[in-house]
């Protein structure tokens, strides 16, 4: 089953973030808790972890893209 990884809402006023780096490529295995991509926020760079175990099947944006909070960034095909 495909699971979405979204831009987390790190604070109430946050509306978007810049995806500054991909840490996993399409086809890479992903463990639960492993960082998948980095977003730049006001204060720091945050590595967003996967909530699922499986394979990265889609990168929904490119490095440098601005993505809205809770919008899809990556798709993971979850291991059954």
């Amino acid at each position: 089953m495909k699971k979405e990884i979204v831009i987390p809402k790190l604070r109430p006023e946050m509306q978007e973030a810049v995806v500054c780096a991909w840490l996993k490529e399409v086809g890479d295995p992903v463990k639960k808790g492993e960082p998948i991509f980095e977003i730049e926020t006001d204060k720091v760079v945050t590595q967003v972890e996967s909530g699922f175990e499986g394979t990265l099947v889609e990168q929904c944006c490119e490095e440098g893209d601005t993505v809205g909070v809770l919008e899809k960034v990556a798709l993971i095909e979850e291991t059954a």
């Binding site: 790190l10 006023e13 945050t46």
Partner: protein
């Protein structure tokens, strides 16, 4: 100006960048791990400074089931230029808050609780009694748990400080925040001498309480000013020092001047220990309450 009146786009805008953020300012975030603590706080109507200050360490601390409680509401009467906490007209003091903090500490199995507050210049005692009540509630529900209070200057009123000291927290923390020369620009409603006075008074009146302070770098201070700040703080009898990188919350806040390197922080630490501080936490993401129990354990046998 109340921060709540800022335009939404200003809150969104990243502060003027010093270029790419350095590698040492990277943190991890896990939705699931963070939500558990966030849900508990919401259930008990509690605030954390982790959330209100948009702390970069929140992901790590919540995952480890630690948090710093912010009592006396999430709205502050002061508008310090470095701080992300909302300034405005505060709410009434919540009488159930002390026991709710104790309940949360118990549920999270905290062995060390850090309590801080919004600065309440509108209250006669600066919120001291709420601190004392919260300490007593934690003592009642969580025997054996150590307590650290990170207080405002309480306008320097010794009657207020006495109320907190009489409740006997293990650690009394009050931040000087920055060097003498930048006080007016960075925290206009506070004062360097008053903050040093708070530290000195607390140590003199409760010598068995560990006194702690912290400051930020990256606001434009010089190395000589940092050196003098350490001397001034040490002279008050302060035991524990924390030094961390200032991170500009929004473009409306005090401008970030530089990123100090991990080597800079190592040098500050070495210097502070040589001067005579008992424990020093100095790192880019070191914050007042970050891994606070480690500092307490380190100085535990001092007195």
């Amino acid at each position: 100006m109340e921060k709540t009146l800022e335009k939404a786009e200003d809150l969104q805008a990243a502060p003027p960048s010093l270029g790419k953020k350095p590698d040492w300012l990277k943190v991890r975030y896990n939705q699931e791990a963070t939500e558990e603590v966030a849900a508990l706080m919401k259930d008990l109507r509690l605030n954390t400074v982790c959330k209100e200050a948009n702390c970069p360490n929140m992901g790590e601390c919540y995952r480890k089931h630690t948090a710093t409680f912010m009592i006396l509401g999430s709205v502050c009467t002061r508008n310090c230029r470095f701080c992300n906490v909302t300034c405005g007209r505060p709410e009434a003091v919540d009488e159930e808050e002390p026991m709710n903090v104790a309940k949360a500490a118990k549920q999270l199995h905290l062995k060390h609780v850090v309590l801080t507050c919004s600065t309440r210049d509108d209250l006669e005692d600066g919120g001291a009694l709420q601190f004392a009540k919260t300490i007593r509630a934690i003592r009642e529900l969580c025997p054996g748990t150590t307590i650290e209070t990170l207080i405002s200057d309480m306008k320097g009123r010794t009657e207020s400080l006495d109320i907190v000291l009489e409740a006997k927290p293990e650690v009394l923390n009050h931040n000087v925040e920055t060097v003498k020369e930048l006080q007016k620009a960075v925290r206009p409603q506070a004062a360097y001498e008053r903050s040093l006075g708070v530290l000195r008074y607390c140590k003199q009146h409760s010598p068995d309480i560990r006194v702690k302070t912290g400051f930020m770098v990256g606001l434009g201070e010089t190395e000589e000013q940092i050196d003098r700040l350490m001397d001034d703080v040490l002279e008050t009898g302060c035991d524990i020092l924390t030094i961390g990188q200032y991170l500009q919350p929004t473009r409306e806040h005090y401008p970030l001047v530089r990123y100090a390197t991990p080597e800079d922080f190592a040098r500050y630490k070495k210097n502070a220990l040589l001067k005579g501080f008992h424990h020093v936490a100095s790192a880019p993401l070191a914050r007042s309450s970050y891994r606070a129990w480690e500092a307490l354990e380190d100085v535990h046998g001092l007195y």
